[in-house]
């Protein structure tokens, strides 16, 4: 009898699930429409399907369920959180209205800002003050706490965010208020800014704490409900929750800081890309995901996904950067690099061909869907170029209208003085150039050369565009995982347990009190170990790393330097300074003469080692292999700038060991891999497809 782990990801349209057998790495895949009113229902359905599938081939017990969800993101976008109150230092309760006083669009007078999550009438202030050095200047008066309690009761709030000035230096007052509220109102959910986002800058910290408090009741209810459902399915296994950081934790810890699971799905996608890369012996990965409305890229260097501490949720104005709520959470860095398949092409008032940011969405969708769309999209261009097949789209379940697409392209062509072919390739090429350009800059900002990376493509439109983007970047290897449609779930299964803890204190490295620092970090490590055990990790084999946020004294932004926890100590000062300066020079071209390097935060990351998993689809085990093309069709070849007939292959029938020569197209239900240039294409033993471009 084997044991299985189950991953379930709730997406906007589908809830995906994968079960994997530990010993064999066999996987079973299931899918159901997402049930927005009661998201747990689709989760139950998917798990039930998976258990049935597994039972036909194997007799097993479920070891754990790893779960990711868009619940938090959606609650913030749709403003479906709970009535939330805030407690702030007296004199500062308008921090949510004053924000940073910046306009994110210089020229648009009609720009909109997101309304604060906590309205003025539910913000209460308390007389207290902590100095910039962390010293208590004014203690909290008990009478004021009682008054505060009355205000909160009267406000009807189910959740409270506590954000006091300088609490990142000294959290005594926040903890005092937290303990008081917990004692007096045990049902009230409490979020302390010093626990949720221990960082300087009051607006961003308050914004993060407010968002955490706002979704906390919802997430807490959802998670306990989900555990009950697992019981109903007779699964005694613990529930683990995927985090934006790319690790997972126990459902109890997730319920405490739900804002940390904001971007769990996309994070799973990057981990999945990394896993596919590792199986092919690659640990420098450019994860590329392209869906209906946007394309995203994430970078993995030496097996380590790049992470960021700033994030923005719920943009209110045309997806513009700056129009959302700022959040300080550790998340795998995914940058938006461009448009998606549904993005609309148009002629700008400068007479140039533009693509996006407006999208046709799923309704009316691209012109070729025949659902009323009249403006050409990226998908229409892909169809016209032969990259998609009108007769065999989505596994032949949907017929596309090629004539309508041609008319829409001609319509744009007339205005630009170009043919439909020119316009179609123009759209395709603009989208690819812009994505490659954005990815190139992102890689350069990290101090790397794109040619050292392997591109891993996911998403419905990802494999259609991946090879061209790789070619533009000088990347020679492109990987396309199996079960790419449920990529986030594969990532959940491959993800390690991970706990993040931060110690904020500013010290010049040369005069640092190493013993004091190590003692403080030990305390955090002890705390993290407890949580790790709760998440099922073997604490004897976990890895302790410290990401040190460093800068030259006087600067405001930092450069992160990663070191093993065990290396810290007084003898480490000089190596740390050297490591910082090397990194600084790599990023910005020159060191600062006579600068004083200092550390402002020590981020302890405790995680399991990421072990590569070679997943094999159980339903692929008994198919008839066939490595001859099922059809041939004309494909636009960007190098020749002309259409040439090429072979079309069916992915399900291509088994490990197959070698093919491109140009060609490989179709599967979820997506189409387009290789429009000379390349060698092979199927690897984990069923992923490797495209090696000729240099």
């Amino acid at each position: 009898m084997g044991s299985i782990r189950i991953a379930v990801d709730i997406g906007g349209t589908f809830t995906d699930g994968i079960a994997s057998e530990q010993e064999t790495n066999l996987i079973w895949v299931a899918k159901s429409l997402t049930t927005p009113d009661d998201p747990g229902e689709a989760v139950s359905i998917v798990i039930d399907q998976l258990l049935n599938q597994v039972a036909q081939q194997s007799s097993t017990t479920v070891e754990e369920v790893v779960h990711g969800t868009t619940l938090v993101t959606n609650a913030l976008i749709e403003r479906k959180g709970s009535p939330t109150a805030a407690i702030l230092t007296k004199g500062f309760k308008d921090v949510f209205d004053i924000r940073r006083e910046l306009r994110y669009d210089l020229y648009d007078l009609t720009f909109r800002l997101p309304p604060p999550l906590i309205p003025e009438e539910r913000r209460f202030d308390i007389t207290e003050r902590i100095s910039v050095e962390g010293e208590i200047l004014h203690e909290i008066d008990d009478g004021e706490l009682d008054r505060l309690l009355e205000c909160i009761d009267a406000s009807g709030a189910a959740s409270v965010a506590v954000c006091l000035l300088h609490s990142y230096r000294n959290d005594t007052h926040e903890r005092q208020i937290g303990a008081f509220l917990k004692r007096e109102r045990p049902d009230l959910m409490i979020s302390l800014s010093s626990a949720v986002a221990r960082e300087m800058r009051e607006y961003e910290r308050a914004s993060t704490t407010a968002a955490n408090a706002y979704v906390k009741p919802l997430v807490s209810t959802y998670l306990s409900e989900l555990e009950r459902r697992l019981d109903d399915l007779k699964i005694g296994a613990p529930l683990r929750i995927m985090l934006s950081s790319g690790g997972f934790t126990s459902s109890q810890a997730a319920a405490e800081t739900p804002i940390a699971l904001l971007e769990s799905g996309p994070a799973g996608g990057v981990i999945s890309a990394l896993n596919t890369g590792l199986a092919a012996g690659e640990d420098n990965i450019l994860a590329f995901d392209m869906g209906g409305t946007t394309a995203k890229a994430g970078l993995v260097q030496n097996g380590k996904p790049s992470t960021t501490r700033t994030f923005e949720a719920g943009r209110v104005h045309r997806f513009k950067k700056g129009s959302g709520l700022p959040l300080l959470i550790t998340s795998i860095e995914l940058i938006e690099i461009g448009a998606g398949g549904g993005s609309l092409a148009s002629v700008s008032n400068l007479g140039l061909l533009n693509v996006g940011p407006e999208s046709a969405g799923s309704v009316p969708g691209p012109v070729c869907y025949g659902l009323g769309g009249t403006q050409a999209t990226v998908t229409d261009a892909d169809l016209w170029l032969g990259y998609l097949d009108a007769e065999h789209f989505l596994g032949g379940t949907m017929r596309l209208d090629l004539d309508a697409t041609g008319r829409a392209l001609e319509d744009i062509g007339t205005r630009l003085g170009l043919t439909a072919n020119d316009v179609a390739f123009g759209i395709h090429n603009i989208v690819n150039e812009n994505m490659a350009g954005a990815a190139r800059i992102h890689i350069a900002e990290k101090g790397h050369d794109p040619r050292d990376f392997t591109l891993v493509a996911t998403g419905g439109a990802g494999p259609v565009h991946a090879v061209e983007i790789a070619r533009k970047l000088g990347i020679r290897r492109v990987l396309c995982a199996s079960a790419a449609g449920a990529g986030s779930c594969l990532g959940f299964l491959a993800a390690p347990v991970r706990i993040d803890r931060t110690l904020t204190q500013t010290d010049a490295i040369e005069s640092l009190d190493w013993d004091g620092l190590i003692a403080d970090l030990q305390k955090l490590a002890h705390d993290a170990r407890t949580e790790l055990q709760g998440a099922g990790a073997n604490i004897d084999t976990v890895n302790y790393e410290v990401d040190v946020e460093m800068r030259y004294r006087g600067q405001g932004n930092t450069v992160s330097v990663s070191v093993p926890f065990g290396s810290l100590g007084s003898g480490f000062a000089q190596p740390l300074i050297t490591q910082f300066e090397v990194e600084y020079e790599k990023l910005f071209g020159q060191k600062v003469p006579d600068g004083t390097p200092e550390a402002i935060a020590w981020r302890l990351v405790v995680h399991e080692h990421l072990v590569e998993r070679r997943f094999v689809r159980a339903d692929r085990q008994n198919v008839d292999a066939d490595d001859s093309p099922v059809r041939r069709r004309k494909l636009y070849q960007p190098i020749l700038k002309d259409f040439v007939e090429c072979g079309v292959y069916e992915r399900a029938r291509l088994l490990p060991g197959v070698h093919l020569q491109a140009p060609l197209v490989i179709e599967e239900a979820e997506s189409t891999l387009v290789v429009p240039v000379p390349a060698s294409v092979s199927v690897r033993d984990d069923y992923s497809i490797l495209v090696e471009l000729s240099s």
């Binding site: 500062f92 308008d94 910046l102 007078l109 009609t110 990142y168 405001g556 071209g589």
Partner: protein, 514 residues
């Protein structure tokens, strides 16, 4: 390459790529800067210019006025240093108000970029230095020479070698030299980054930047002309007044729309003053164009072509075209009135596209002194309420027409020996109307230094509020208090340890009758 070989697809691809490169250089500037003026308040801009000094692309986040001024600065540099004398690795610097952005604290760095031995482009950066010596910035100053160190166009680096003299003079003349030089290095890093990226682009794409520049500027010009031509011809005037020194400061704005051109004439505005609120012509032009671009063509990526159909006139010797050596340090106090004045004039013909005057000009507070024997110099900004429009209430406390953020209190308290006692919205200070003006804010701080502190402000509309438009009510005026007593912020003052300052910014004007 002729313009005909740059088709609408290649042009779009190249342009997007250039904007991305400039944005990356701007990120470098922000991330390596030493002053909170750059990294918190975003008082900077980065541009890519062609070999003639014409704008190709600008950073997305930047100060509106700098966009027009940097190309002009590059052309001043070219006028003094002939292009054939420029070498790879040269770096040019100036902060001359008439050649730069209109006041001394803004340091402009222009670097020629070579490709295959030929000068093909310039990178330009400008950042507000945390100090430039002299007396601290105040509207009360009477002569340019009081305002600090003036750096004429100079070679800061000769073919990669630093001119040590310039660095040493700068270092010897400013209060917080570590921050000042640190920011200068940050600018150099940004210029260098842009140079590197452009060279990488030119190594892979065969493009003639001059014809590319010609093409995008022609297209931007045509788009602006079409937008202007869509407006009915006519002449519209608006007069704005704010507190002055004795008499109010007057901005008289006459906008003439004729075919596909616009002429903005400021004749009738105040005479030049022996006070630091004079505005040099490039700044007058920049903020006038900015206002017109917001209304007419907000979505077109910015370049100078957009401004060719616009003529701006201000009589020499007036506050909007002063003669050297007029003091100019607090030029924002007058220059920030230009966009609302243009909006006011155009409200007669396109009321649905304009905004009522905001609680601007921008406010600032500058503190210098010593604490425990250590010198400090700290500048921070505050904004008033946004003006209302036909369709929306104004937001409280938001920067317009500039785009300068606040300094977080937790950061501010590390920059100067002060404790902030409160920062709140001044509820109800926005002007009433069919749409309400945005509210101002109030910030109260206490001096913790152990010695007296020199303080100066930019603070206006203490007597004359932001007017409403189209029947809307004016916003409430602002207030400056010292220990609870009304305080005149126009002159530099010395205040004592333990003193308490209150800065209350004005509300924005309302729009439409209630």
């Amino acid at each position: 390459m002729t313009s005909s070989t740059l088709d609408p697809i290649s042009l779009e691809i190249l342009w997007t790529r250039m904007i991305s490169m400039v944005d990356e250089a701007a990120t470098t500037l922000v991330r390596t800067s030493f002053s909170h003026i750059v990294r918190e308040c975003h008082d900077y801009a980065v541009v890519l210019l062609d070999a003639e000094g014409r704008l190709l692309a600008q950073s997305t986040q930047s100060i509106p006025s700098f966009i027009c001024t940097l190309p002009a600065t590059a052309r001043h540099i070219l006028a003094k240093f002939p292009r054939q004398t420029m070498k790879d690795g040269d770096v040019f610097i100036t902060n001359d108000p008439w050649m730069g952005t209109g006041h001394l604290p803004d340091i402009n760095i222009i670097v020629p970029i070579f490709h295959k031995g030929e000068l093909v482009a310039f990178s330009g950066t400008v950042a507000h230095s945390p100090d430039i010596g002299g007396r601290i910035r105040s509207p009360g100053i009477r002569e340019l020479y009081e305002e600090g160190l003036r750096i004429p166009p100079l070679r800061l680096m000769h073919a990669g070698e630093r001119d040590q003299a310039v660095f040493e003079i700068l270092e010897a003349n400013v209060r917080i030299s570590k921050q000042v030089l640190g920011d200068l290095f940050a600018q150099l890093s940004a210029n260098k980054m842009l140079e590197k990226r452009l060279r990488e682009l030119l190594a892979t794409v065969d493009v003639d930047l001059a014809s590319f520049g010609y093409e995008i500027q022609s297209r931007a010009e045509q788009a602006m002309r079409a937008d202007i031509a869509a407006l009915p011809d006519g002449v519209h005037s608006y007069k704005m007044e704010v507190d002055g020194f004795g008499d109010p400061v007057v901005v008289n704005c006459r906008v003439e729309i004729s075919g596909d051109t616009i002429t903005v004439d400021y004749t009738g505005s105040s005479e030049q003053l022996a006070r630091a609120i004079n505005v040099v012509p490039t700044y007058t032009f920049a903020y006038t164009c900015y206002a017109l671009k917001c209304i007419l063509s907000p979505s077109v990526p910015n370049n100078e072509g957009s401004f060719r159909p616009i003529t701006v006139k201000a009589p020499e010797g007036s506050i909007l075209n002063p003669r050297f050596p007029a003091p100019v340090g607090a030029r924002a106090m007058t220059g920030h009135l230009l966009p609302p004045a243009v909006f006011g004039a155009l409200s007669a013909t396109i009321p649905d596209r304009v905004q009522a005057p905001p609680g601007s000009p921008l406010w600032s507070c500058h503190l210098t002194g010593t604490n425990h024997g250590e010198p400090f110099a700290c500048l921070f900004f505050l904004n008033g309420g946004q003006g209302a429009s036909a369709t929306a209430d104004g937001y409280p406390a938001i920067s317009f027409p500039s785009n300068l953020g606040n300094t977080p209190i937790e950061v501010l308290e590390t920059q100067a020996p002060v404790r902030v006692l409160r920062r709140e919205i001044r509820r109800g200070t926005g002007g009433a109307g069919a749409s309400r003006g945005g509210d101002g804010q109030v910030l109260e701080l206490q001096i913790l230094a152990d010695a007296p502190v020199t303080v100066s402000f930019m603070a206006n509309r203490l007597a004359m509020p932001a007017e409403g438009l189209d029947g809307g009510e004016p916003g409430a005026p602002g207030q400056v208090l010292l220990n609870g007593e009304v305080f005149d912020p126009r002159e530099i003052s010395l205040i004592q340890p333990g003193d308490c300052l209150t800065l209350a910014t004005p509300g924005g004007g309302g729009f439409g009758a209630c």
